[in-house]
Symmetry: C2
Subunit: 175 residues, 2 copies
């Protein structure tokens, strides 16, 4: 039986940092550098934090986000070798639910609906691996946690870190 991998969406498949930066520039004419997001909750990098929070509730925000560099090719490989589940903590933003499914259908059309999980807390998800940018999801995980680098997690050191999709490929080629 194939081993199972749970893959997060925002900051893993989806370049949501870039999307925050682009939407902020569009609304406020100020371009925040990605460096500013390092080591802090991403929202704190923006002068108008309330406006950035509001993006999360805005129809179209999640649907229009860009795909993370290298994700499509790497996922092609993983989907062949493993049973891959997409596991996204989307439930706080109900308008994002159908947008996230549509987004996946656009960028990863070979992912079956059976393998998509939209949830709140991820603690009841059981797979062999979890690729995620949040410590709160990785800490209670019973399988092998894999920390995908994002600005906000730059200072965390207690999980195996993968900096980008090339490093994800190298990791799964080496095991």
């Amino acid at each position: 039986m194939k081993k199972t991998i749970a893959v997060d969406m925002d900051n893993v498949l989806v370049d949501i940092e870039q999307h925050f930066i682009d939407w902020y520039e569009k609304d406020f004419g100020v371009r925040i550098s990605k460096d500013k997001l390092i080591g802090i909750p991403e929202i704190e990098a923006f002068p108008n934090q309330e406006a950035v929070k509001q993006f999360l509730y805005t129809p179209g925000f999640f649907r229009s986000a860009p795909v993370m560099e290298g994700a499509i090719a790497a996922m092609d490989f993983l989907l062949n070798k493993f049973e891959v589940y997409i596991v996204s903590a989307a439930m706080e933003f109900p308008q994002s639910l159908s947008e996230k499914v549509e987004w996946l259908n656009e960028y990863f059309p070979s992912i079956h609906w059976k393998n998509i999980v939209l949830c709140g807390d991820k603690s009841i998800i059981h797979c062999d691996y979890l690729i995620d940018d949040y410590i709160k999801n990785l800490d209670p995980f019973k399988g092998q946690p894999l920390l995908f680098s994002a600005g906000h997690n730059a200072n965390h050191t207690h999980h195996k870190r993968l900096n980008n999709w090339n490093e994800v490929l190298d990791y799964f080629n080496s095991i």
Copy 2:
């Protein structure tokens, strides 16, 4: 730490058999008896099966379904004693995702968004108990499977059966 229970929606929290019957009567003027649904996939009880399948893709179908008898009082009890997760295989019908969350907010407002999981295949969900009407969800489950009676599962005998929410209460009071 509280034990965890995963609770299905359709045919467990939601009286979806009744809803099929009501919508069919509304559209075709024919009232199918609940007895007709016993021992067969529910859709096969209806003369026009294609129309019933179409209900599942119709906006408003899931949002307007009635709550199962006894579910609200029994869930009040369970929510106090256990960590309860709602786990619904909704992903085949993307329009149902936000409707299911809205439905839960109406009938079970004390269920936190963190405890809602909308998925396809439930095989990666790990809890101590799963209350579900489908053998395909209960068979691979690693905890204690609990078969909630529905017409279509009447002939299955290989899981602990609970016929209604009173029996769910009795079961969890006795363990």
